[in-house]
Amino acid sequence: MRINLPKLMTARRLVAAGTAVACVWVAAGSRTEASEVDLARLGAFSFEVTGSPMEKFHPGAVRRTRVTIANPYPFAIRVRQVDARVTGSSKWRCRPTAANLTIGGYLGSLPLTVPAYGRKTAGEFEVTMPHTVADACQRATFRLAFSAGAERAAR
């Protein structure tokens, strides 16, 4: 039996190279997954939560803001919790207190699954400007903050 040594060497090199590439890729992939989990624990993961803007509020006005969640990941996420609160206003004399603006409870159903790279409406919040709103709040812009918790949806 005759052995073609150069050809055998080439094949072995190819196999070795392929295996090396595979190992490096797997290692990199594993590291990425580990990092993602760590980052999630640190809160570094995020997805977009927005509320529809509301305008022309006046004393006694009651309206709803629609919450939308955008999923930037290549897998579906399941949103477990959504909250909203008033965090500030554009005028320092118009404080973000219940006397000036109140946000009611969440109006929607949870959990909510948002598909990969998808966007979904995730319910609403009722916003009320009480009759006691301060005069300084005329023309003020209130900042609302939305927070949400999610996990990767089961396949």
């Binding site: 509020f57 301060a134 300084a136």
Partner: protein, 237 residues
């Protein structure tokens, strides 16, 4: 044959690596405890009322100047809560009327007789919102004699006031002259010439402003004459 085997091994290894490395097979736990998003809400502002019209005619003479104005609405289309009419006598400001949105007139019965006054009107909403003051009305002279003039006239007992003309009250209303004549004769109406600037009781307590439904604009009014955006601001929280 061996070359083909080697190539297959390489291809399989590469595909496996891609599959594993891209995380498709690794389904580790993933969760986000909290993520934050933003939203905004912009409040409206009360509109400015157009210049009101103030007048004194024979019918209203006894009651005082009558002020009327055109209704305004919020940018959202909702009615404002009401209106505040402010009397300006020289540099002095005083509340003349506070009315619900359904009422667009005010008869100022508390104006000082004989004085020249102007009026501004401000829209109201809620318990604290006060709109900007309208341009001042044209000045009108309140029927009757100023207290000082009345006293002088009464003391001297001149015939000027007894002549029955309306020249002194500046209203062109003959009736005022005849009243003044009565003053001269009796000297008993000094008390009526003393100005009183007690605010008119708010009609809102019994007549809430219009704008009902899911987004009512009205409410009980502020209790003081305010001066623009700063009023009530310090008590916002």
């Amino acid at each position: 044959m061996r070359r083909r085997t080697a190539a297959l091994i390489v291809a399989a290894g590469t595909l496996g690596a891609v599959a594993v490395g891209s995380g498709i097979t690794a389904w580790a736990d993933w969760s986000v405890e909290m993520t934050n998003g933003r939203g905004s809400l912009r409040a409206a502002a009360l509109p400015t009322v157009a210049q009101p019209r103030a007048e004194v005619n024979a019918k209203m003479k006894a009651a005082g100047p009558r002020v009327d104005w055109t209704a305004v609405k919020l940018a959202s289309g909702h009615s404002v809560g009401g209106y505040l009419v402010v009397r300006h006598t020289g540099d002095t400001r005083a509340e003349a009327c506070r009315v619900p949105a359904s009422k667009l007139t005010c008869v100022d019965s508390e104006a000082t007789p004989g004085s020249s006054v102007t009026y501004t009107v401000q829209a109201l909403a809620g318990t604290r919102w006060t709109g900007p003051a309208s341009p001042a009305s044209e000045p009108v002279r309140v029927p009757g004699k100023p207290s000082g003039v009345t006293e002088k006239t009464s003391a001297s007992g001149t015939a000027a006031s007894a002549s029955g003309t309306a020249a002194e009250d500046g209203t062109g209303n003959a009736g005022a002259g005849s009243e003044q004549g009565a003053d001269a004769e009796t000297g008993s109406r000094k008390s009526t010439a003393t100005p009183s600037v007690t605010p008119v009781p708010s009609p809102w307590s019994s007549a809430p402003a219009s704008g009902t439904g899911s987004e009512p604009a009205g409410g009980s009014p502020a209790q003081t004459v305010t001066s623009g955006e700063e009023s009530g601001a310090g008590t916002s929280g």
